[in-house]
């Protein structure tokens, strides 16, 4: 029997705003199945987002949801978690939201290792405003603000998260719907700051200007360029050129979580 998403969808909020062929609906479904597997109640779950196509997701689903300002979801999420650590906080946003305007908040949330799961929807473009280049637009790719091709090197969001101190980092794609669900579930169950970068196609803003006119072209591109991390780590840089690793990229369960550290340091918790 097909999975029933209805229990998580707010009545009357669909259809969503995403374009035909957008990968974000696949992410929403994988995320909901992962959330379902945690056994958490809807009342204890908070979704915080910034601005952009990805950030519209919280409006569709039946949790405590906040659609904040551009790039700032992690600031709001940090306040929510500190105010009530019993809440399960998930922050989400696109590549521009999280790595450009929200880049500072992203690295510092990672550094603190606060118990928040961050989902970065990476479609290599600003979709909602119509296809401007973002920090993850590949070199040479066309965007409305890069009509002669992108000249800036890209951020590798997963590597950025590891470097900044996140204690669980994974990457997946909208092609890998089932592995994505499992990866998000691992991230949700991780104590500390977890990041899942999800590569997803934007046929409207990116694909049609970059040789991937159909949504299926973008899914096939994801399938062909994703390399499981266990395999990727033994490959040379030349072999990995143009490809990216998927799966769990980094995991460290030894580092203390931020709110627990705070409570211990200031005497709010009994331990230590």
């Amino acid at each position: 029997m097909a999975y029933d998403y209805a229990k998580f969808i707010r009545p009357g909020r669909l259809p969503h705003i995403w374009c035909p062929g957008c990968g974000y609906g696949i992410i929403m479904k994988s995320m909901l199945r992962a959330i379902d597997s945690t056994g958490w109640s809807k009342d204890e779950i908070v979704l915080a987002s910034g601005i952009g196509c990805a950030s519209r997701l919280p409006g569709y689903v039946d949790f405590n949801t906040i659609h904040t300002t551009h790039g700032r979801s992690l600031g709001f999420a940090t306040g929510i978690k500190l105010a009530n650590p019993a809440l399960k906080v998930i922050a989400m946003g696109g590549d521009g939201d999280m790595s450009a305007i929200g880049g500072n908040h992203f690295i510092h949330a990672c550094r603190r290792n606060i118990d928040i799961t961050v989902l970065v929807f990476n479609n290599y473009i600003y979709g909602m405003t119509g296809g401007q280049y973002s920090p993850t637009t590949p070199m040479g790719a066309k965007a409305t603000t890069a009509p002669y091709g992108m000249i800036e090197p890209s951020f590798d969001i997963a590597r950025l998260a590891v470097a900044a101190g996140a204690t669980f980092v994974g990457r997946t794609t909208s092609y890998h719907a089932v592995p994505m669900e499992k990866l998000i579930l691992q991230a949700l169950n991780h104590k500390g700051l977890s990041v899942v970068e999800i590569m997803a196609g934007c046929p409207t803003g990116y694909g049609r200007r970059n040789g991937q006119k159909a949504a299926s072209d973008m899914l096939i591109w994801e399938k062909e360029h994703a390399v499981p991390y266990e395999k990727a780590k033994n490959m040379t840089e030349a072999e990995m050129a143009g490809k990216f690793a998927i799966g769990v990229i980094y995991k460290d369960e030894s580092r203390p979580e931020y709110v627990e550290s705070y409570d211990r340091a200031v005497g709010l918790s009994k331990r230590g």
Binding site: N64, T68, G75, G79, A83, L268
Partner: protein, 377 residues
């Protein structure tokens, strides 16, 4: 029982006032001349069961404060000039999403970095108009260390009561001066908490104004799952593009504050009864103005002081009363090049002359400057 009397710095009084009001969360970023508030609360909040965080920037601090309030904690941030400019985006979000919180702006001099260690009163218009779009604004202007405490309590009360961010506009002089303060006993000052919904979660509409302009507010995690957004939204909290709802909700947002002038606007009328000339002042300038009025009274000049403890909504009815009453003029001393004076002129409606006395050299306005000008009226 003996009174709890302490020799306090102005900024410390804000921290103590916040705790008294029930503040249990602070997020901030170090900036002169407000930093002492963060330092004090970093030490004191955990003892009261609260939490403190120094965020990566002013923007995130404002965001965290709104987030913490949504999750049920009364929240404060403190900043000055450049930091206040950075907070504007999320301050507007707080107004739009109707999230109570308090923002302390210890005003310093100049645009940009200005004079961090000198006083200023040049953020009056920024407080009102800094965030883009029409929005409500409540801003309080204490002028003594004791008022730093009591007005902080009032700021939290107003923010909870009207479900909106409240700004405390103080300045470097009051923030850093020390005065003896009698700390009110528990229960001596009223402490107001947000009104929560009494309906079943499935019936809850987070922006339902059918019973008044301030909708009851549920905290995240209490079973009332709802959506919060900075987009124009309807009573359900979800985005709307319907012009009639955008219009009615924007008007309600502003009206919930503007229609409650008597409850929000607090002005001390000092020797105004028989006054033939008035000085309208706030913050540190009100201290000099009070001295000036006393000096003039000694000389038989009938001067009076209107001391604004609320600067937004602007105390226009108080000013109008004296302008209509036929005073010879109203003087507005302020540490800027003319902000409150324009509002005062508007409120006076041409019934009496309104003159400004401005200073922007990072020094206080002297009582003699004020009395000298008032004498000529």
């Amino acid at each position: 029982m003996s009174k709890d009397k302490r020799f306090l710095q102005g900024n410390d009084a804000v921290a103590l006032g916040a705790l008294y009001a029930g503040c249990r969360f602070f997020a901030g970023y170090p900036i002169t001349p407000s930093t002492e508030v963060a330092e004090k609360l970093a030490a004191m909040l955990p003892k009261a069961g609260g939490r403190f965080i120094q965020m990566e920037d002013e923007i995130a601090a404002m965001a965290a404060v709104i987030g913490a309030s949504l999750a049920g904690r009364k929240s404060l941030t403190a900043t000055s000039g450049p930091g206040m400019s950075l907070k504007m985006e999320n301050l507007g979000f707080g107004c739009m999403a109707e999230v109570p919180c308090v923002i302390l702006n210890v005003m310093r001099g100049g645009p940009s970095t200005g004079t961090p260690t000198g006083p200023g009163q040049s953020d009056i218009m920024q407080a009102k108009w800094g965030p883009h779009g029409d929005h409500p604004c409540i801003a309080l202007t204490p002028s003594t260390v004791a008022e730093q405490f009591t007005e902080t309590v009032r700021a939290f009360n107003l923010s909870e009561k009207y479900r909106t961010p409240v700004i405390i506009l103080t300045d470097e002089i009051i923030g850093h001066m020390r005065e003896a303060v009698e700390i009110p006993a528990e229960g001596e000052l009223e402490v107001i908490d947000r009104v929560k919904p009494d309906c079943a979660p499935e019936d809850y509409l987070p922006y339902d104004s059918s019973k008044g302009d301030v909708p009851p507010m549920a905290n995240f995690g209490e079973g009332y799952r709802y959506h919060v957004t900075g987009l124009n939204h309807d009573a359900s909290g979800f985005p709307t593009a319907k012009p009639s709802i955008i219009d009615s909700e924007e008007r309600r947002l502003v009206r919930k504050v503007e229609a409650n002038y008597d409850d929000i606007v607090k002005v001390e009328e000092f020797m105004c009864g028989d006054a033939d000339r008035i000085v309208f002042a706030f913050g540190s300038s009100a201290r000099s103005a009070k001295d000036a009025v006393l000096a003039l009274r000694e000389k038989g000049v009938k001067a009076g002081l209107l001391k604004a403890l609320t600067i937004w909504p602007f105390p226009e009815r108080h000013i109008k009363k004296y302008a209509d009453g036929g005073v010879k003029g109203i003087l507005v001393p302020e540490l800027n090049l003319g902000q409150a004076v324009c509002e005062t002129e508007r409120a006076a409606g041409g019934k009496c002359p309104v003159e400004g006395l401005f200073r922007v050299d990072s020094e206080a306005i002297l009582p003699s400057q004020i009395s000298g000008t008032l004498e000529r009226f």
